[in-house]
């Protein structure tokens, strides 16, 4: 089952891999995010800052960002929240199944609702 999921992941990744990077936008540095109260921010943004940026954010020593830099060599943004090619299905699949050193995230950590919000946030700039 796990293996199948991973193959699917790669397939999906390949499918969307070709898309170009989207327009830049301001990203709050994760240090300040670490203490962000979240007021006035979209839920997906807050959940993303809470769960993802420690690995996928900007700044020193973010393994997720480093890994994607190595993988795409600039062909795609290494920062997930600058991507416009991710789909909710893909995002959920990685979060629930993990990949290489990225472990699985349980529903007690990131609930389905929070995951939906994160997916909505990360796909907000996708072209229809």
């Amino acid at each position: 089952m796990k293996k199948a999921a991973m193959l699917l992941a790669m397939a999906v990744a390949a499918l969307f891999g070709a898309r170009a990077a989207a327009a830049q936008e301001k990203v709050t540095p994760s240090w300040t995010v670490a203490t962000v109260s979240g007021q006035g921010q979209p839920k997906g943004y807050v959940e993303y800052q809470k769960y993802c940026v420690v690995c996928h954010g900007e700044g020193v020593g973010r393994p997720g960002t480093l890994a994607l830099q190595a993988k795409y060599k600039g062909a795609l943004p290494a920062l997930l929240d600058r991507r416009t090619d991710l789909t909710p299905a893909l995002i959920k699949m990685y979060v629930r199944n993990g990949i290489t050193v990225m472990p699985t995230f349980r529903k007690t950590e990131i609930s389905d609702a929070e995951l939906d919000a994160i997916a909505a946030y990360l796909t907000r700039n996708n072209k229809p």
Partner: protein, 527 residues
């Protein structure tokens, strides 16, 4: 649907229904899809029968719900495997030692009950992560530091109970525990230390209470479920300084380690450091090993290369925390202490004043040494799809390091392991007064590769035991192996643990096999 061992389908579904009634339908997980998320993300058993998978997961949100779950499990004799945040990666992650256990997931219990920055402590629930606690402290502008391990997404409760280590002044995490609340296997609630007194004013300030001090029983064990824990925090220091000392000859490590022991045991040097060796790294770059492999570049040859190319043999970065003037003088004193060793060299390191500016903190290397949780360690694992840690304790002495490198080298040789097979470093000072080695065995989605590494791992346990070294902690796959080498007086301590287990948990429902402690019914005959 997978069943817990020895439980009938009808009993299990009856139990699940009761779990649902106790904690709500949405917090009882049974689908294969959900179970995937409770496996070991870094399993050494990928694609093998032995891979440990739970039958279900229950996630209570409150002490009363935990008590209810435990009572139901007792009624149906259903084994529970407790996780706090389930981030015990490299030691089993969230997976049970026994397939079919119901995972008791405490992540939802994530309340920070108190943080005091006058007496410097916190009282937290098991689901609180180091990130959570850090954010809370920042948001409330409290002048205290936590001591996160690397990585920082685990929980103070879980990591302290596993007796993990961090990087800062309070790096021995179990030693910072002050007061526990525990649900016993029979569902009864106890508070330890001063917490045993109603309305206690010093639950997080005095550890022992009155009468037998029981907290240690609940570390690396399956005697109870810790639902609250106090941890001591460090008042924010005024400053930090580090400096590196390096020696040129192999045998210099003996006086080097002696001076190190003096400085640590006098609390002049604090925090965690790793012994380093540019010459051994050089040997690795030439395809050799950190460990002493027969036929590899010899010590004499390395010393010669060191002399010619001016590469030190041994070095270590010393860490000082305290008032600015004091850390400067402590570094000066350390240099004096080491200067008795001929040819020793010193390198000035970093200096910080606290609090750091946000930008500074963003950029600071090894933030966990300054109480800032992060996940940088995962950047080190390269192409591996996970790792499991082999971590023996050895004496804090040069002689012990020499012996260990030789002994490990012989194992590599005997088993034909390529030198680079492990991510191995020289020993660390995560705990007071001893060295601990960390071997990161890589894990791949490759059955043969993993099987081979498991053999090596088990051999290493045996060989270390033959030399009087034992592991401080281990992966669920090796808990019996490690427990079995702690065998003084025909496993008297192991049997003592079992005596307590049978008394507290007659049905053996809590975390069967944890640290080699099995319920009577599942105990294997002992060699």
């Amino acid at each position: 649907m997978r069943l817990p061992p020895g439980v009938s389908a009808s009993d299990f579904s009856a139990a699940l229904t009761q779990f649902e009634n106790a904690i709500g339908k949405e917090w009882v997980f049974t689908s294969d899809e959900d179970m995937e998320t409770y496996r070991d993300s870094f399993s050494p058993f990928w694609h093998e029968e032995e891979d440990r998978v739970p039958s279900a997961a229950v996630a209570p949100n409150g002490v009363e719900q935990v008590q209810a779950v435990v009572r139901i499990a007792n009624q149906y004799k259903i084994p529970l495997w407790t996780i706090s945040t389930g981030k015990n990666l490299a030691y089993g992650g969230s997976a049970p030692a026994l397939s079919g256990c119901v995972t008791l997931d405490l992540k939802r219990m994530n309340r920070i009950l108190e943080v005091n920055d006058k007496n410097h402590y916190a009282l937290v629930e098991p689901g609180v992560s180091y990130f959570d606690l850090y954010r809370y402290i920042q948001d409330n502008k409290l002048k205290v530091w936590i001591d996160p391990p690397d990585p920082g997404w685990g929980s103070p409760v879980g990591n302290s109970l596993e007796r993990g280590g961090g990087r800062g002044v309070l790096h021995d995490h179990f030693a910072t525990v002050c007061g526990m609340e525990i649900v016993l296997p029979n569902g009864e609630l106890v508070r330890t230390g001063m917490g045993a007194m109603p309305g206690a004013k010093t639950w997080q300030q005095y550890r022992y209470g009155f009468g037998p001090y029981v907290d240690g029983l609940f570390s690396q064990s399956n005697f109870g479920i810790v639902t609250k824990m106090g941890v001591w925090l460090l008042p924010e220091p005024e400053a930090y300084r580090d400096g590196t000392v390096a020696v040129t000859r192999h045998d210099d490590l003996i006086p080097f380690a002696e001076a190190l022991a003096y400085l640590y045991n006098s609390q002049i040097v604090q925090g965690t450091s790793a012994l380093d060796s540019s010459l051994l790294n050089y040997r690795v770059s030439k395809g050799g090993g950190v460990v002493d492999l027969p036929g590899d570049i010899s010590v004499a040859e390395l010393e010669r290369i060191g002399r010619e190319q001016n590469i030190p043999y041994w070095s270590i970065e010393l860490h000082f925390y305290g008032p600015a003037r004091v850390v400067d003088l402590q570094w000066e004193y350390a240099k004096e202490k080491f200067s008795a060793i001929p040819g020793i060299t010193f390198k000035e390191g970093r200096f910080y004043r606290f609090p750091l500016e946000p930008k500074e903190a963003e950029a600071v290397p090894l933030p966990q040494a300054f109480g800032i949780p992060n996940l940088q360690v995962f950047g080190l694992l390269g192409k591996a799809e996970g790792h499991m840690d082999f971590s023996p304790i050895i004496p804090l002495s040069g002689e012990a390091v020499f012996e260990a490198l030789k002994v490990f080298g012989d194992v590599y040789h005997e088993m034909g392991i390529p030198p680079r097979n492990q991510f191995i470093s020289l020993p660390w000072t995560f705990f007071p007064r001893a060295f601990v080695f960390l071997f990161g065995f890589p894990i791949m989605h490759d059955v043969e590769f993993n099987r081979r590494n498991r053999e090596v791992f088990r051999r290493m346990i045996q060989v270390c035991a033959e030399h009087g070294w034992g592991e401080y902690r281990t992966h669920i796959a090796y808990m019996d192996d490690v427990a079995s080498v702690y065998s003084y007086n025909s496993h008297a301590l192991w049997r003592f643990h079992e005596t307590i287990k049978d008394t507290l948990d007659p049905n053996g429902i809590l975390s069967p096999g944890k640290q080699g402690i099995w319920p009577k019914s599942m105990r294997k005959p002992r060699a």
